[in-house]
């Protein structure tokens, strides 16, 4: 049993762990994942301090330069500093990628909770709409939506939310159906608690584990999909630094300036690893074998 220091109560530091206060250790994968994500967050937050140049400044006399002390990752076809663009792109990809997974989570969880908890025709309607959405090929549907909705962050978030809520709804609905049958829900019903309280305090908190883990993989997917859309020239404005677009634009020069595409690609991989490790660690932690 782990020994815990209890300086606050002034008791001896060697007192055996208080079972009430004891917490399981944090899994290593969670620590590493959080560290990776932390680096990205810091870079995004302090982009103006970290970037060496204005990411939008073009110098056509100095285009496609090789890495140097002045331009750490060289310059692109318009003479913009690739390193600075890479740093600024962290803001776009991190925030849009996260929100593009968060909004579906919120919508999907709400719909799933309603469908599972109340059942009946509400459940039927929600489940059939979910079926309908899922019957479309994801990318075709997504590209069509983004194409119709136009350029910008909002269209992307709307399109993602409209499509990606389905797995959350299914996950939560199933979990809630399971949780509804448990004794502590019956106990809450017998105690006379109102529906809303039972749903939010007793059913939902016990149904979100898988959803949280799924969310971490969905963030990766959303980030990569965002990059893919930009790669295809859809979604975000052309001027906005974005990793997917950097890969796309650098593709032409892969033979001589391979780093223009490769480095943003590796950055996406690193971020994905970070999310994956967090998801893995959370899954481990929530299973209780941390």
């Amino acid at each position: 049993m782990k020994l815990r220091r209890r300086s606050r109560s002034g008791r001896l530091a060697v007192e055996p762990a208080d079972p009430v206060a004891a917490k399981p250790p944090v899994p290593t994968s969670l620590k590493i994942g959080a560290a990776i994500l932390g680096i990205f967050v810091v870079v995004a937050a302090f982009a103006p301090l970290i970037a060496t140049h204005d990411p939008a400044f073009q110098d056509l006399t100095d285009k496609l330069a090789s890495p140097s002390a002045e331009h750490w990752l060289g310059t692109d076809q318009l003479g913009r500093d690739a390193f600075s663009r890479l740093v600024y792109a962290a803001r776009t990809d991190l925030i849009v990628g996260f929100l593009a997974a968060l909004f579906p989570l919120i919508l999907g969880t709400t719909l799933g909770a309603i469908a599972g908890f109340f059942g009946g025709w509400v459940d039927t309607v929600i489940s059939r709409v979910a079926d309908a959405v899922q019957s479309f090929p994801v990318y075709v549907f997504l590209i069509a939506l983004v194409f119709v909705l136009g350029t910008g962050v909002m269209p992307i978030l709307v399109a993602f939310t409209a499509i990606a809520w389905v797995p959350y709804t299914r996950l939560i609905r199933t979990e809630i159906l399971r949780a509804k049958g448990l004794d502590y829900v019956a106990a809450a019903v017998v105690a006379g608690l109102p529906h809303r309280r039972i749903l939010f305090r007793h059913v939902l908190p016990n149904s979100v584990r898988q959803t949280v883990v799924y969310f971490m993989s969905d963030v990766i997917l959303a980030t990569v999909t965002l990059a893919t859309l930009s790669f295809l020239g859809l979604g975000l404005p052309v001027e906005q630094p974005e990793w997917g677009r950097m890969i796309s634009e650098g593709r032409t020069f892969l033979r001589n300036q391979w780093w223009l595409s490769t480095v943003p690609g590796l950055v996406i991989v690193a971020l994905g690893m970070g999310y994956a490790l967090i998801g893995d660690g959370l899954a481990q932690r929530l299973r209780g074998d941390g």
Binding site: Y184, A186, V190, G192, P194, P205, N206
Partner: protein, 331 residues
């Protein structure tokens, strides 16, 4: 003595795939204020279904087709009530599995405080104090500290105490206990039974205690009702029913209790056959196919509880058959 809760002619039906079964058939029960009624029977006898019907917790597809629930009121009369309306007020329940009956994402204190707040208006801190006081009352050591615990940090016995505190938080008049000690080991079981008994006496609480363990009934109950195949077959004060059973089924249950002094070469006594399928109950007395005393007219017997001794009723039409044999092995 005043009646705290009465169930009259309760029937529950379940329709599945077009077939209708009746797991609870015309069951009447009553428990006096401050008394404990033991409800005994094999698995599938309809005990738990009866409790669920009382609380309006029947699963999907099951419905109450007849019956009335009467609860003692402040005016001293019995009032017919709707199960949903008594939730959180007149009746509470202690569940069988303390592992699954406590929300793992809520701290113990919140679980109990929830019930207290659902019952009447009180501030968070008042509810908190009530919860800690209740934890103390049900014998949880260091209640202040345990209140902050999560359910998974407690032992089975402590969880069951928390369950009881939770049930008491709504200040019920009647406590329904669905095999609350079955999941516990014997020493802990004994403590919990003692606790329930103490609470019953201190609070003047009425308890309906469902179990298949006759030894437990002998320990906690004053009255007993024996159920078989969806019907109550024998009721009465606990000693006469267990010592001088007037129904062959009760007698068979009593003689099936294993004893420590049984020889290793002796087989345990069992009841021949299996409980009937609810979809296909035998005609007449439903125990007759397994009954050693069955007569030809048993298969045509109407189900009526007849008083044979003071407050001691049986549905058996040949109780004299039992009286002729000596009852061995009563607890």
């Amino acid at each position: 003595m005043t009646t705290a809760l009465e169930v009259r002619n309760l029937s529950v039906e379940i329709t599945r795939h077009g077939h209708t079964i009746r797991p609870v058939d015309d069951v009447s029960l009553s428990v006096d204020a401050g008394d404990c009624l033991g409800l005994v029977g094999e698995s599938g006898a309809g005990k738990s279904m009866t409790l669920k019907a009382i609380l309006g917790l029947l699963p999907k597809g099951a419905r109450v087709t007849s019956g009335e629930l009467l609860l003692h009121t402040a005016e001293g009369t019995l009032a017919s009530i709707d199960p949903i309306s008594v939730r959180g007020h007149g009746i509470s329940m202690v569940f069988q599995e303390p592992m699954t009956a406590l929300n793992p994402t809520r701290r113990v204190v919140d679980i109990i405080a929830d019930g207290a707040r659902a019952h009447r208006d009180m501030s968070k801190s008042e509810a908190h104090e009530t919860a800690v006081r209740l934890l103390g009352e049900v014998g949880v050591p260091a209640p202040e500290r345990r209140a902050r615990a999560w359910p998974h940090q407690l032992s089975g016995g402590l969880r069951q105490r928390v369950m009881i505190a939770m049930a008491l938080a709504t200040e019920p008049d009647v406590l329904l206990c669905d095999e609350p000690t079955t999941a516990l080991d014997v020493t802990v079981q004994d403590q919990i039974l003692g606790l329930l008994d103490r609470i019953r006496r201190e609070r003047g609480l009425s308890i309906i205690f469902v179990t298949h363990d006759l030894a437990v009934i002998g320990q906690v109950a004053q009255e007993v009702a024996v159920m078989y195949a969806g019907r109550v077959v024998e009721t009465g004060p606990v000693r006469p029913v267990l010592d001088r059973s007037l129904h062959p089924y009760t007698n068979a249950l009593v003689t099936s209790i294993p004893h420590v002094d049984i020889g290793t070469d002796q087989r345990l006594r069992t009841i021949e056959g299996a409980p009937p399928d609810p979809a296909n109950f035998p005609p007449g007395c439903r125990f007759s196919p397994r009954c050693p005393f069955a007569q030809p007219d048993c298969t045509r017997a109407e189900h009526v509880l007849v008083e044979q001794a003071t407050d001691h009723r049986t549905a058996c039409i040949h109780p004299e058959a039992l009286a002729s044999i000596s009852v061995e092995g009563s607890p």
